[in-house]
Amino acid sequence: MNAQPFTSESYSEDSRERAWQEVLGGFGLQSLAGRAALPSHATAMCRASSLGVRLGRLSAEAQALRPVASRPGPGGAGLPLLVLPLEGGSVLHTAEGRKILGTGQFLLGPRSGDWQLQFPRGLRALVLAVPADVFRGRKVAPLHLVQPLIVDPEGLPDVLARTIEAAAQALDRLSEPEWEAVAQSAAEWLLALASERAADNVDTPSGRAALLQRLYASIERNLGSEGLSVSEIAQGEGISERYVQKLFEGTGDSFSHYVRERRLQRAWHDLVNPAESAVPISEIAYRHGFSDSAHFSRLFRERFGLPPRELRRREADRQSASVSTGGHRGWPQQALVRLRALQGRVEGGERAGAASGRGEARPAPAHAPLHHHLAVDASTVHWGYFSRSLKPLIEIGSGDAVTIETLTQHASDDPERMIRGDAGAESVFHWTAKAKNVDRRGAGPLDASVFGRGAGEGFGVHICTGPIAVRGAEPGDVLEVNILDIEPRGSRNPRFAGQVFGSSVAAWWGYHYSEFLTEPRPRETVTIYEIFADAEEPYAQAVHAFRWEPQADPFGVRHALYDYPGVPVDLAGVTLRREVLKGIRIPLRPHFGVIAVAPREADLIDSVPPAYFGGNLDNWRLGKGATVYLPVSVPGALLSVGDPHATQGDGELSGTAIECSMTGTFRVVLHKKADTVGTVLTDLTYPLIETPENWVLTGFSHPNYLAEFGANGQSDVYNKSSLDLAMRDAFRKVRRFLMTTKGLDEDEAIALMSAAVDFGITQVVDGNWGVHAILAKRLFEP
């Protein structure tokens, strides 16, 4: 059987849960919903072998899993289920209480019974189910596993865990015979493991296994104490030392060897943990009960074949190698680990100056639409991130119009033309050795402790004006943002009075960057364009271009790459090429690259990857006359706009469009959830674009990467970019749209898509790549 992909996005809201339970049911599991209310997101990739071995990779919002069967029965026949959480923190609930699964541990759960595994931070797990039929005709030891077991990833369990992890990654790529072989091996190993553990449970006289488990736990707790001894442990259980020794002998081990092994293992984990890289080795040794660090080093070397210092050096090399080639977008995995280790609350909400009162928020009766104006300066922007924690600048009512000034983050590519003389731009970009008006640029740490690029680390680059709260907006509602007008922002420098400029950077995150034809390789190139918006056929024309040269920012940090936004370019240090794209006029398509409401998942979200909340959509169809509908995730919706583009091609290949400051006028309408029923906004879980002629549905590699990858989302999304996945997502969204809002059945929807829906490539540069689907409205007109 082929791999079966599943995503809740395929289903209308009311059938999502049932579909998800069916996926789980394939493993003999069911879900106990976590927090309900919000639209739930779930994805899975499952594959079953011809004999019924089933492996799945599950990803969903917080919930608990439990076996479907409450009593053993014919339906529950088979080996215990193997559930391998991909992140720590899941909790096993049984009649005896709760246990937390550590990183790497997995669960062997009986097919029936009263247990459940809870995933408080979101479900991300692999599940392996092996029915008894797989071993038909062979003698199999009785497997009376009554209670679920938590298994450490050592020895066979480790081999098994790694195998199914690797297999789960490749589920849809393994050929049929390959998959059958993998499934059969996994089944054999699970059988071996389950037999062994069941034997532990059954064969030891009653209570002995449980006692041993308690001893292990007690040892784990006391590993750090240097004086941990048999007598101490024996006393704690009220048994004799000799009995303790005997119990260990029964497992083929000895007490002292076991303790030493556990201590060395733990020390090894600390040594390779980047979050612990500053802790002296002697301290790590001490922490795990080794008071003599020379002794520790010797034991460590005997056990792992290299001294602790060497292990650490290799690990550091490995990590820096993985990030030093080219730039790195978003959070590196290790930095995220470190961030979580600190357990610090991410600072949200800080921004230059107090924001209150900048906009003209006038309390008014709901029925009289108002026109608000939001000027741009350091106090009205947030740079490079979205946040549910930002205080809104103004609150508007549904139906109000709002004129929003936006600045391009690329104005600093040519400060003379795009910043000088412009009070708003000067305020936002102001950055001297002593002062930086907008400090945070990106969702990274304020102290720049990851790469040292600057506050926020440039994990997100767009200058966004906002956020704007919409009165009465609640999660589940839909915000309509209608673009009434777009005006380019002229240069305020008297030398260039009346002219408009933009910049386009062929940057290191561009699609082309890995494969230059000509020297020097690689390179970044900035092209400055002049915008002729008032021409009969408005166009852009290149003014000049230059190769990026390392720029020192006012704080003295050197930027060898375009890795931090708003670094003023010193034109004295670059070579201007003037004859560039000579005679070529590029038609304008003015639009806003970023229109976002605040995401719900975290306090600080990188502005680069678009997702369900909108954000960096980079679709030029979002121009004058177009509307985007965004699902509201937080109270007030918190609308922000930025990343203005004079024009862009489908693909945005080099990494940027012609980035040009512009002012937009929008009408904002709130659609309450209850009112969307039966409209095209029913059940909307993604940004939906409407133009006078078309519906444009937005597909992404990972439609909700924050939920799908959980804590690793802001790192993983950059590593898993794919048009193939984005196409799949776009297909599912169009199918659902046609079925839910146009009343077609699945076959009709698919037929129509093949005959009349056009799929195009939105962008291949924003981490979460985009494929959009264009559905002509006139298909449905009489």
Binding site: T527, L581, I761, V764
Partner: protein, 415 residues
């Protein structure tokens, strides 16, 4: 400038393959034009509407226990026993041709201008003068492993009527494919071999599908191309450097296609006509219909290419009044790149990501060679002015089209 006429007959068609070994059914000179009839390989989805009464179609599709006019269908084995049938359905399109262009040699480029296209009317008195097409959501479609309604999986065939007055297509009815037994006794549980007549007694027709929906017509030929040099028999399914199953609805009336010549004479064939198709051809097929086209052929000799838009061309190129488009594939030339069994291996290589990569490279080359841009200029221009779209995700060698508007270059010297 002679105008030729090439009807579709058992003698002028070949089914499911391109072949450098086929003798041309017509040889013409550069500058000549030809009216070419084609018949859709999906006509047997509704025999009564699309074949009955049409002598040529009846003859081509004739298949009884005694006689099968077009025995070979596909580039696969022609010696039994068969899994699916002779040619094994490794390639499905019923093509008219090949046409040789006098003097064409490898390294040259053949330009094919689509002068006009019109549909082939039903010849069954019951439907006289009307135009019908079929759109199966097939097992090779993008949806097949990702269905949400039962029964899963399934193939669903929708029969359409084309209204030329309104230039629109409307669905008539649909049915779910049921196992069909061909006259040789082979059962086809799915659509796995072309031209198997669907016994309408075995299907349940669903009326009133896609009610009220009008699909704008986009008449075009899904498959137009030259014979490749790499093998004697090449499946028509994956498009490749000599064109073939491009499935781009923009290759329509008014368009010019340029194909690199791989074998002497070029050997052009066409078919797989569509009444309409969306970008991606998602379900595996378009609205498959029989069309006749008028084409003009121009031979561009290798020595004359420098300094023209054809300089350095190694892949199909589209020119319309407004744009140039290059075609990126998952594998640029799969016949050359994929080892000993490329026609099977390509089935495992479908990828939009690779097709995008290929389209990017082809467009960069086009801008640098033809428009004399530097690499940096080409990249900047591609980001701000070129549009990349999904051509198809169902023809094994998936496609991404890179398009640039001609007007952009109007002010450029020599542009």
């Amino acid at each position: 400038m002679t105008k030729h006429h090439l009807p579709a007959t058992p003698e002028t068609v070949h089914w499911g393959y391109f072949s450098r070994t086929l003798a041309p059914v017509l040889t013409l000179k550069s500058g000549d034009s030809a009216v070419i009839e084609t018949i859709t390989h999906h006509a047997n989805d509704d025999y009564e509407r699309m074949i009955a009464g049409d002598k040529a179609a009846e003859e081509i599709f004739l298949w009884t226990g005694e006689k099968k006019t077009m025995r070979r269908r596909g580039a696969g084995a022609t010696d039994g026993p068969f899994t699916y049938g002779s040619g094994e359905g490794l390639g499905v399109h019923l093509l008219t041709g090949p046409i040789a262009v006098e003097g064409a040699e490898p390294g040259d480029v053949i330009e094919v201008r689509v002068i006009d296209t019109w549909p082939r009317p039903s010849a069954n008195p019951a439907y006289e003068g009307r135009f019908f097409g079929s759109n199966p959501a097939a097992n090779w479609g993008f949806q097949y492993k990702d269905l949400i309604e039962e029964p899963k999986p399934r193939e669903s065939v929708t029969i359409y009527e084309l209204d030329m007055e309104e230039a629109a297509v409307k669905a008539l009815y649909s049915y779910v494919w049921t196992p069909q037994t061909d006259p040789d006794g082979i059962v086809h549980p799915t659509i796995d071999y072309p031209g198997v007549r669907v016994d309408h007694a075995t299907i349940a027709k669903k009326e009133g599908v896609l009610a009220g929906i009008k699909v704008p017509a986009r008449l075009h030929f899904g498959t137009m191309g030259l014979a490749p040099a790499e093998a004697d028999f090449v499946s028509t399914i994956p498009p490749n450097y000599t064109g073939g199953n491009m499935d781009d609805w923009r290759i329509a009336k008014g368009a010019r296609m340029y194909y690199p010549v791989a074998v002497p004479g070029g050997l052009f064939s066409c078919g797989d006509a569509h009444a309409s198709q969306g970008d991606s051809e998602l379900s595996g097929t378009a609205i498959e219909i029989s069309l006749t086209g008028e084409f003009e052929f121009v031979l561009h000799k290798k020595a004359d290419l420098p300094g023209t838009v054809l300089e350095g061309l190694t892949h199909p190129l589209l020119e319309t009044d407004d744009v140039w488009s290059v075609y990126g594939f998952s594998v640029t030339n799969y016949l050359a790149e994929l080892g000993p069994d490329p026609q099977s291996e390509i089935l495992n290589r479908s990828s939009l990501d690779n097709a995008m990569r290929d389209a990017f490279r082809k467009l960069r080359r086009f801008l640098m060679t033809v428009h004399k841009l530097t690499e940096d200029e080409a990249i900047s221009l591609m980001s701000v002015a070129a549009d990349f779209a999904v051509t198809q995700v169902v023809d094994a060698n998936w496609g991404v089209t890179g398009t640039i508007r001609k007007a952009i270059f109007a002010g450029r010297a020599g542009g």
